[in-house]
């Protein structure tokens, strides 16, 4: 009996050490590659959002939910991740609906151009900190590149063992705790880098969205329909990578076929008031804080006027939460 107890203790200690080492080598995404932390922050939120944004960096860099709350009382959250592919958007939406049913889902259509997984690094930024679920497993299986293995995701030590030699104080400090890097999924950036030169607009072998991509767009649409959610398609006003007119035409056709609203905000940049000499932090790929606030005010107005949303500024409980968030937001913005 004593012998079995000893073995049991050894096994437990081994498992605990293994869990600890996996946790230790996992990137913490607190000061470096902070985009990897965004997916996790949603879980801590009170789930009361009437609008959920899904998509790639064109949502998390360009839409500020707190500005939409401040100006219109809209409660929203951006569930965007770096280079979020359409099957990942589907998985994230499915997961979101386990927690809450929003009135509106806003999907950025930029990712429709990608039919295949693009980058192992981006896969990890989207998936590492996502809670384990059927959706996560499906997303991993659909996203892995040839050289990847699911064990890279299950046991971080497999993927990140080389980090043992480059652990930083962050890895110990944030072993069991972490801080938010976003404001309801919006990643603030105050830098200014004007649009100057862009690469040549290349001729493509095909401009047609592939069947696999459209099948996931269909799944997102059906998921929204089944839950009585209004699906709204948008193209954020990022000037690069080029949004070809052929892409745009297909989205318009899709939206017309299924009676969806589609807003190409790139075409509305002037009306929104975006100044590409001032309102972008990286030469036009993403808007900075100033551009994001203009866009959020413009799009918030569209949401407010068309989708029967509640003004939560009149709700004591919600307004307390959002006012606290706004206070931190304004402080970091430099307004206070």
């Amino acid at each position: 009996m004593k012998k079995y107890f000893k073995i049991l203790i050894i096994i437990i200690v081994f498992i605990l050490c293994f869990i600890f080492l996996n946790k230790l080598v996992s990137p913490k995404y607190q000061t470096n590659l902070i985009e990897g932390h965004m997916i996790k922050e949603y879980y801590k939120e009170e789930k009361n959002h009437e609008v959920i944004f899904i998509g790639d960096c064109e949502v998390y860099a360009n839409f500020s939910p707190l500005i939409m709350y401040k100006n219109y009382g809209i409660t929203s959250y951006v569930r965007g991740t770096s280079q979020q592919l359409i099957w990942q958007s589907y998985g994230i939406l499915k997961e979101t609906l386990k927690y809450e049913i929003p009135k509106v889902v806003v999907l950025n259509v930029n990712a429709l151009r990608y039919n295949e997984p693009v980058s192992e690094a981006y896969n990890h930024l989207t998936l590492d900190k996502m809670k384990w679920s059927q959706e996560k497993i499906e997303m991993i299986n659909n996203s892995m590149l040839e050289e990847e293995s699911i064990f890279d995701y299950i046991f971080p030590i497999v993927r990140y063992h080389s980090r043992f030699s480059s652990l930083t104080s962050e890895d110990f400090k944030n072993l069991f705790t972490d801080n938010n890097v976003t404001y309801n999924g919006y990643l603030m950036n105050k830098n200014i880098k004007p649009v100057t030169n862009l690469p040549t607009k290349k001729i493509l072998g095909s401009y047609t969205f592939k069947d696999n991509v459209i099948s996931y767009l269909d799944k997102i649409r059906q998921l929204c329909e089944n839950n009585h959610i209004k699906l709204v398609l948008i193209k954020a006003p990022s000037v690069y990578p080029y949004w070809y007119s052929e892409y745009n035409d297909q989205v318009i056709e899709y939206a017309n076929t299924y009676n969806l609203d589609y807003y190409n905000l790139l075409e509305k940049a002037q009306e929104i008031g975006i100044d590409y000499n001032h309102d972008t932090y990286d030469g036009g790929l993403h808007l900075n804080l100033y551009g994001a606030e203009k866009l959020s005010t413009y799009f918030g107005d569209i949401l407010k006027n068309n989708y029967n949303l509640t003004d939560y500024r009149l709700d004591n409980h919600i307004s307390n939460i959002y006012n606290q968030k706004l206070s931190v937001y304004n402080k970091n913005k430099g307004d206070e």
Partner: protein, 155 residues
């Protein structure tokens, strides 16, 4: 016996030469005005000349900055590899330049396959030839080449 040795030496020489040629053709490269652009090699304007236009394309999550150097007839894109920028793509922008094997924008599909053969991968309008980890892609619209691009797989 003497003849046999001479034949043997010629044989070795021919085999050696073809091996060297094969070695040279392992990856695609583009030559213009005596400048040889090799995919995957380090890029510097001191070596390849001052560009007409320069653009930077940062990734959306700190995965590095791709840089494009546009010249009169072609555009080079580099991608970071450690502290170096390596040639990632070479895009020919008009019909005044040819590939190393002599194909230019505006040439026919027939001319393309006559020059490069039929060992290509076709995806929609793109015909892609592969040597090791480098690729030469032709976009063919109708029967005419409308775009030519060299690129390398990145890790």
């Amino acid at each position: 016996m003497k003849k046999l040795i001479i034949l043997l030496l010629i044989g070795i020489l021919i085999t050696g030469c073809s091996e060297v040629k094969k070695e040279e053709n392992k990856v695609y490269s583009f030559t213009y005005n005596d400048k040889n652009f090799i995919l995957g090699e380090e890029f510097s304007t001191s070596k390849y000349g001052k560009e007409v236009r320069y653009a930077e394309v940062p990734s959306c999550a700190g995965q590095g900055v791709d840089k494009t150097y546009t010249y009169d007839h072609y555009e080079i894109t580099t991608t970071p590899d450690g502290d170096k920028d390596k040639i990632y793509t070479i895009y020919l922008t008009d019909d005044s330049v040819k590939t190393t094997e002599g194909i230019k924008i505006g040439d026919s599909l027939e001319n393309l396959t006559k020059t490069y053969g039929n060992d290509y991968e076709k995806r929609d309008n793109a015909y892609t030839y592969t040597l090791d980890n480098t690729h030469l892609e032709f976009i063919v619209v109708g029967d005419t080449i409308s775009s030519i691009e060299y690129y390398i797989d990145i890790e």
